[in-house]
């Protein structure tokens, strides 16, 4: 099947080369970071995780979001999704690849990465995160590949794949739950210290992941001979609708608890993000943009007339995706570190090289996605021809 990855139109190769070029610049910038140290980033001893870990967190969500096409098809026998499960699985692979790369570029001593295996430490959530992320990658590679190959040959996939598919469904939930546990189990980080963090992460994941998938399906519809299907897109749109409403609802629950209880610790980070604290307010416009985007997304998604219109649906998906991205990929991490444990404020602003490395990782992930989707779409086209 790999041969489809090297046979493509000029447009395909153009995209591949463009993404490879951005990824290449990212690698060069990372080499600079390796030689200088993480000091080229905007992180500090107060905000010790930044843009990289935030992207990682957001992308774990995108990866977990893939399960929203797998679950209805395999557990509820919703036949329509059979056509696009492979897209969900391949999107999950690309997202997990980006997650692992973001962890890699965030490490101070990446050459010692294997110490996590040499000295396994079950009391560390990071240890479990390593297991669930790599496990999820493995599951999706094995399942995706076998199911696609079977489709190509017009046969049923091997029976041993079935249990893996069933395992992959709770596993998708686990990757984002464990990722939330990285944060919500830390004493003294009150912004994260909330039982609703994992549910909130999952809600935003099941909104952002399928929203991206809808956009990708639309692109495939437009540029290839394979049609993922309008019914499929509409079903995904309903999933996005409920998930983004839940996400906003969970956020409002947080706001209520913090401000009605009036406990300073619980209010501080939210105040910092949405109104600024002690004169530091770099995140305020971003956070309000995020809220407005998510609310506009809901307004466009709930009424059937706008949900069924391809233009407004695409706009809604963009709003949801970027709204969730700002919420998680920017505010969630920096907000949790501000103010610091001594109640001082160091404002975190990512630096240019830091953003370049992050862009490089995104490009690498989309390169993987492009190649995988090319293979999947070519086979779909071949089978339907």
């Amino acid at each position: 099947m790999l041969e489809f990855a090297v046979k493509g139109s000029k447009r395909y190769w153009g995209l591949v080369l463009a993404l490879a070029a951005i990824a290449g610049v990212g690698v060069l910038t990372w080499l600079y970071q390796l030689s200088f140290g993480l000091g080229i980033t905007g992180m500090s001893r107060d905000v010790s995780w930044g843009f990289y870990i935030a992207q990682f967190t957001f992308l774990v969500g995108v990866a977990a979001g893939g399960v929203m096409v797998v679950l209805p098809y395999y557990l509820h026998d919703y036949k329509a999704f059979g056509r696009i499960t492979i897209l969900g699985e391949f999107l999950a692979i690309a997202a997990v690849v980006m997650c692992l790369l973001f962890i890699l570029v965030d490490l101070g001593q990446p050459m010692r990465m294997l110490n996590v295996l040499f000295y396994p430490t079950p009391n560390s959530v990071l240890f479990w995160d390593m297991i669930v992320l790599n496990g999820y990658l493995f599951l999706n590679v094995v399942i995706g590949w076998n199911v696609l190959q079977a489709e190509r040959h017009g046969t049923h996939y091997p029976m041993w794949v079935k249990p893996l598919i069933y395992v992959s469904i709770p596993w998708a939930v686990s990757i984002h739950t464990v990722t939330a546990y990285l944060y919500c189990g830390l004493p003294g980080r009150h912004f994260w210290l909330t039982a609703i963090l994992a549910p909130r992460f999952l809600a935003s994941a099941f909104a952002a992941g399928p929203a991206l998938l809808i956009l990708l399906c639309m692109v495939i519809r437009k540029f290839t001979k394979f049609d993922p299907g309008w019914e499929q897109i509409q079903s995904l749109a309903k999933i996005v609708t409920y998930a983004i409403i839940l996400n906003v609802f969970f956020f409002l629950c947080e706001v209520f608890v913090a401000f009605y209880s009036n406990i300073p610790y619980h209010m501080d980070s939210i105040t910092y993000l949405f109104a600024g604290l002690h004169g530091y307010d770099a995140y305020v416009p971003w956070m309000w943009t995020s809220i407005i985007m998510m609310v506009l997304g809901i307004i466009l998604l709930v009424p059937p007339v706008t949900r069924r219109n391809p233009m407004t649906l695409a706009a809604a998906c963009l709003l949801v995706f970027f709204g969730a991205w700002i919420d998680k990929g920017m505010g969630m991490i920096a907000g949790g570190f501000t103010p610091n444990p001594l109640h001082e404020i160091s404002e975190y602003i990512p630096t240019a090289p830091e953003v370049m490395i992050a862009l490089g990782v995104w490009a690498a992930g989309f390169l993987v996605l492009t190649v995988l989707f090319k293979i999947a779409v070519s086979i779909k086209e071949e089978v339907r021809a």
Binding site: F36, G37, L38, G39, T41, G42, M43, S44, R45, D46, S48, W49, I103, D106, L107, G108, Q109, P110, R112, M113, N115, V116, F118, Y119, T121, N123, S124, V125, L126, F127, M130, L182, Y183, L186, P187, G188, R189, P264, Y265, G336, F337, N340, P341, L342, H343, E344, S346
Partner: protein, 262 residues
């Protein structure tokens, strides 16, 4: 002879990973039926000080201004080769002075006695009895040693900084770049660090091993008291008996081993 030594070293390596050295070594020799050659041993220096849980009491009444603390901070940072960065983002500190509201957030009353509110407070790693940083570390690079000190193994740290997120006291610093050029005068007896690892106060484990008190305690002229929390005869316990003390964020359950007389 040569091979048995080699085996010893391998086993000692395993033992150092926490399996306990004697049984492993004995079992291995019994297994090969070998005549045990004279073996090297490791142990403590006879003058080493040990404790179940080292603890510190800081008499904050003895510090009126930041200048009073300067010698303590200087003593610590100079013997441990702590670098000095102009760039605040790269800052590294093991022990430093701060205000009441920063040392004890949530405990600030509006109408505290003036001297309590204005006096500087010394903060450092609390060497918690139940440290969240140790729980978080994915490689056991930070761990609680047999004397209750929360130690950093700089050789093993991968620089993930999970411990920094986990510490509720902001006691940890990260080497955002090579620190060596920023150490004004290196103490040859203590290593510097390399870029990409986390560091923090080690309660002067290297000095305790030689029978010396921590550098800040030695420089404090009695304002800092150091001893075994679980030895009823220790000086720390006497001071805790005679004075009302508070600890930083003790409501979080980490059980800090640094106490403050206010």
């Amino acid at each position: 002879m040569k091979s048995s030594r080699r085996r010893f070293l391998k086993l000692a390596g395993i033992a150092a990973l926490g399996l306990g050295s004697r049984p492993v070594v004995d079992a291995a020799y019994a297994a090969v039926g070998g005549q045990a050659a004279p073996e090297p041993k490791v142990g403590r220096q006879p003058e080493a000080l040990t404790a179940k849980q080292w603890a510190m009491v800081i008499d904050t009444r003895r510090f009126e201004s930041a200048a009073d603390m300067e010698p303590l901070i200087e003593a610590c940072h100079s013997i441990h080769n702590v670098p000095h960065f102009e760039n605040k983002r790269h800052e590294i500190k093991w022990i430093w002075e701060t205000e009441y509201k920063h040392a004890f957030p949530g405990k600030e009353n509006d109408f505290l006695p003036w001297e309590v509110k204005e006096r500087p407070y010394l903060v450092l790693c609390n060497h918690c009895e139940n440290p969240p940083c140790v729980r978080a570390c994915p490689t056991k690079a930070t761990f609680k040693n047999e004397n209750g000190i929360v130690v950093m193994d700089f050789h093993r740290c991968i620089g993930c900084r999970f411990c920094m997120a986990a510490c509720p006291f902001g006691s940890r610093s990260f080497n955002f770049r090579d620190p060596r050029p920023f150490v004004a005068e290196t103490n040859k007896k203590f290593p510097t660090r390399m870029k990409g690892v986390v560091e923090k106060c080690n309660f002067c484990a290297e000095r305790l091993a030689e029978g010396k008190m921590p550098a800040c305690v030695e420089a404090s002229d009695g304002a800092l008291v150091f001893g075994d929390l679980y030895d009823p005869q220790s000086k720390v316990r006497q001071v805790l008996n005679d004075n009302y003390t508070i600890r930083r964020k003790q409501e979080l359950g980490t059980s800090p081993a640094v106490y403050y007389i206010v």
